[in-house]
Symmetry: C2
Subunit: 301 residues, 2 copies
């Protein structure tokens, strides 16, 4: 069974009746399974997660986009999270039986179709980016919605699809495809934030660490701990257990131990297989050995 996940972020996290209508566009699409909806009122933003075969997932995403554009007016939007559109980001994530290349072309086809039919500027980012400087979402979204009108006048920032024209109500839609990301936090038994900051710097890509690691340091005031909070953007290429062990070793240099870790949100089965192989030294373990793996896409009829 081929499985594609999509995790659109929409710029509405306060009026939950609007969010409900947008989520209904997913729920009402046959062949799509809604996995999660989470709204944050400070961010004024909601994240919707669903999965299914590629065609129904694309169809659900079209309906979601149409509904959100009809209901959300960016001209009135306030929120603490960076955003550039009513449907701010639409990442397509290949989970099973879909190559990275197929995922890119799903994202590009989606962007072209929505840009044309709904008349809204589209930027491709991450794996779907059409040029290197658009790979980074931070770059694409620089200046945010408020700067978009000016940006669209700059030929460097012509949209990838849709009209090269500011649509005040909708802003732009950022569409991507990417490998499934793993959100992984390591809690350290100390209140010294500097230690977590040093470790975050030593393991993250921008400062010379692992290629597919983004990391920041946080204080967990109530727990009396600090946290190295990470996004592993390609666990196959930068393995999670290797990063976990590196953090542990770095912490040990300060005499600090790991109190626990947290995997946040969805975790791909492949990452679990990797953790098993690594820690057990089970070099030949095959994912086909997992009993439940045979039940995926099978109702028992």
């Amino acid at each position: 069974m081929k499985a594609l996940m999509c995790v659109p972020n929409i710029s509405e996290g306060t009026d939950l009746s609007v969010v409900e209508k947008v989520v209904d566009a997913v729920r009402s699409t046959p062949g799509v399974m809604l996995l999660d909806t989470s709204s944050n009122s400070d961010h004024n933003r909601s994240v919707i997660t669903y999965i299914g075969r590629p065609e129904p997932v694309v169809e659900a995403t079209r309906k979601l986009t149409e509904t959100a554009l009809a209901l959300i007016d960016m001209a009135c939007h306030r929120g603490s999270h960076p955003r550039q559109g009513a449907v701010d980001v639409v990442p397509f994530i290949p989970i099973r039986g879909i190559s990275d290349e197929e995922a890119v072309s799903i994202a590009r086809d989606f962007g072209r179709h929505v840009g044309d039919t709904l008349g809204v500027p589209i930027y491709f980012y991450e794996d779907a980016a059409t040029r290197p400087e658009r790979q980074s979402l931070a770059n694409v979204r620089k200046g945010q919605y408020e700067a978009l009108a000016e940006k669209l006048k700059d030929p460097e920032w012509a949209p990838d699809e849709g009209p090269c024209q500011f649509v005040p109500r909708s802003g732009s839609i950022q569409v991507s495809s990417r490998f499934p990301l793993v959100a992984f936090n390591i809690n350290l038994a100390t209140t010294n934030l500097e230690i977590a900051q040093d470790i975050a710097k030593s393991i993250r890509f921008i400062n010379g660490g692992f290629r597919y690691v983004r990391a920041i340091a946080l204080s967990l005031k109530e727990a009396g701990m600090v946290q190295v909070s990470m996004n592993l953007t390609h666990y196959e290429k930068t393995p999670l257990p290797m990063v976990a062990e590196a953090v542990k070793r770095e912490a040990a240099r300060y005499g600090v131990s790991v109190a626990g870790t947290e995997l946040v949100g969805p975790v791909p089965l492949g990452a679990m297989g990797q953790i098993l192989r690594y820690y057990l030294q089970a070099h030949d373990f095959s994912m086909d050995q997992i009993i439940e793996n045979s039940l995926i896409g099978w109702t028992g009829e």
Copy 2:
């Protein structure tokens, strides 16, 4: 989706045309997925593994039993593996959404039905045992097929179901239910078998080790290593990573390191979750976070 696995062992591993006919009884049952068939001619025995909802799995097992009893004559059976019947063991294994108690009653119902309709003595063992001395398969099968006629005259060894009468062609069927077993081997970077033997003794139940661990030591001549070969009979109660770490520590006492490990055959997803939680110290990890978990029993229609 409820899922039950069944792993009958039949006393034929030489004439593969017979094995094929027996396996066909499983293949031809709608709602059952054949996972594996493996035949060993020295043992003169085959192991058939399949999964599905409880009802179709029981139905497939009935058909398999009927076919095997019609085709296999124990009076002519020779093989190096202990056995007491043409259909030697029938273990039912709850994989998903089935309690241990339900599994016991599935095994007992199956034994009663087959004992009555096919007229063959049935012994229940492991979780399905009716008395403590029948829990151990080695006990139930003591003396093997060759001793069965005498054994059936002893009231202590009256069968649990079916006629108390020796059926030369079929022998007896041993029926059980049990928690899914994990076959786990640890290879040590030494040729000294005594070290593996000492470690096997220190970790296995019969010598005072972990309750749900059976272990033996083997020489891997070609690889120039020795192996601690284990069956973990209840990974939830005796966790695999705890056993792996105990073996590693014991080996270190001899200055020997772990060269690698092998998980042999099917591995339940639950055991993988446990390994992840243990090694990452991810205390709150939930199996619901696994993306593919949501696709089990769902075809995407």
